[in-house]
Amino acid sequence: MNKVVKNAEEAIADLQSNQTLMLGGFGLSGIPENCINAMVEKGIEGLTCISNNAGVDDFGLGLLLKKHQIKKMISSYVGENKEFERQMLSGELEVELNPQGTLAERIRAGGAGIPAFFVPAGYGTEVAEGKEVRVFDGKPHILERALTADFSIIKAWKGDKAGNLIFRHTANNFNQPMGMAGKITIAEVDELVEVGELDPNQIHLPGVFVQRIFQGVGYEKRIEFETTR
């Protein structure tokens, strides 16, 4: 069983146009930079991207947007990206906005074999349109469906060659649940270590969920809003 691939190009070699992808990260924190760049290079199109945000104009998913490689986004917050806004308002880009927690839970549910579940978020809003409403304990809830993807492309801090992953600080965010929900999960990591080097009590995402792994290079780790004291 060899999960280690050489680089992003090899990791996404069989990724095709019109597939559905999950891409980890919150804002620009914890995004799979190497794979995004490789996807831009590869030029595949018509992608449905499930990602909490859409990057900025010149970094992250913004790069794929600029080249019109994305057909549809499923996200919770897509500000900070003028090209995104333009494509959405012009109808070039299909956008499905989800409450962030609902999005995260739909992804976790997809990985956990739970096809649908009830949540209170969005009841009474346009998010609830067309969805089943049911009252539990006196409070109305809406039925939400799970999400899965052809590929989940995630970024972790440390990973071992068996695919076990550890995330760092708030760069975990959507990476962990997305890692559970891809038919194929590709993990790029800051540091790839040998099997046995990670403490089994500290694994955030066990290797069973990860099909391909590589140590990324040249991480830019851009900061969106650097704020200091």
Partner: protein, 218 residues
């Protein structure tokens, strides 16, 4: 005189209680963190996966792996914990957060709130706001009492797309502290120097005014 943003945050900080776990939205709510009373344990949650937000980092110490829900670089405190987004919203949805403070475009007398979308104009998305308002035990809105055009933001009915229904418990504006009761808006406090009449005039729904309305204390 109407409060400035800092004073709104200061007044909201008076709502905090020892042991509270609190989620502060972007904008004025974030400023509340600066006025947590000395010696009071209040833990700040960031829905992107941090319990125990610390102050902004020192210059040159910003860490791209450590941001808040507004994507600003932050720090963490002793006793903090990091977790993924699905777990973070399990925490929120499960009612484990004592207080959520957020901004709004409009709030209604039955506690509806619109805060995320201006059709045709602003399409950034709801982020975690819908989850927060649907689940927090106590929701306080921090806002100006009227919008840029002088129109009331406290209304009978929201004109903009809703973020949540029947959820806001209290509004702290630059003019007043207003409670959302079963019978509608109830005026609790006035900003220093602002009259009840001025508040009534600036509010788009009836205000329950029960006896003398005290000025806010700072």
């Amino acid at each position: 005189m109407a409060l400035d943003k800092t004073q709104i945050a200061q007044r909201i900080a008076q709502e905090l209680q020892d042991g509270y776990y609190v989620n502060l939205g972007i904008g004025i709510p974030t400023l509340v963190a600066n006025y947590i009373p000395e010696g009071m344990d209040v833990v700040l949650q960031s829905e992107n996966g941090l319990l125990g937000i610390g102050p902004f980092p020192e210059k040159g110490k910003a860490d791209p792996d450590l941001i808040n829900a507004g994507k600003q670089t932050v720090t963490y405190l002793p006793g903090s914990a990091f977790f993924d987004s699905s777990f973070s919203f399990a925490m929120i949805r499960g009612g484990h957060i004592d207080l959520t403070v957020l901004g709004a475009f409009e709030v209604t007398e039955n506690g509806d709130i619109s805060s995320w979308k201006i059709p045709g104009k602003m399409v950034k998305g709801m982020g975690g706001a819908m989850d927060l308002v649907a689940a927090a035990k106590n929701i306080i809105v921090a806002t100006t009492h009227v919008d840029r055009n002088g129109q009331p933001k406290l209304k009978k009915k929201c004109d903009l797309p809703l973020t949540g229904v029947n959820c806001v418990k209290k509004i702290v504006s630059d003019m007043a502290v207003v409670e959302v009761t079963d019978k509608g808006f109830k005026l609790l406090e006035r900003a220093p120097g602002v009259s009840v009449e001025e508040i009534v005039a600036a509010t788009g729904a009836p205000l329950i005014i029960d006896g003398e309305i005290p000025e806010m204390q700072f």
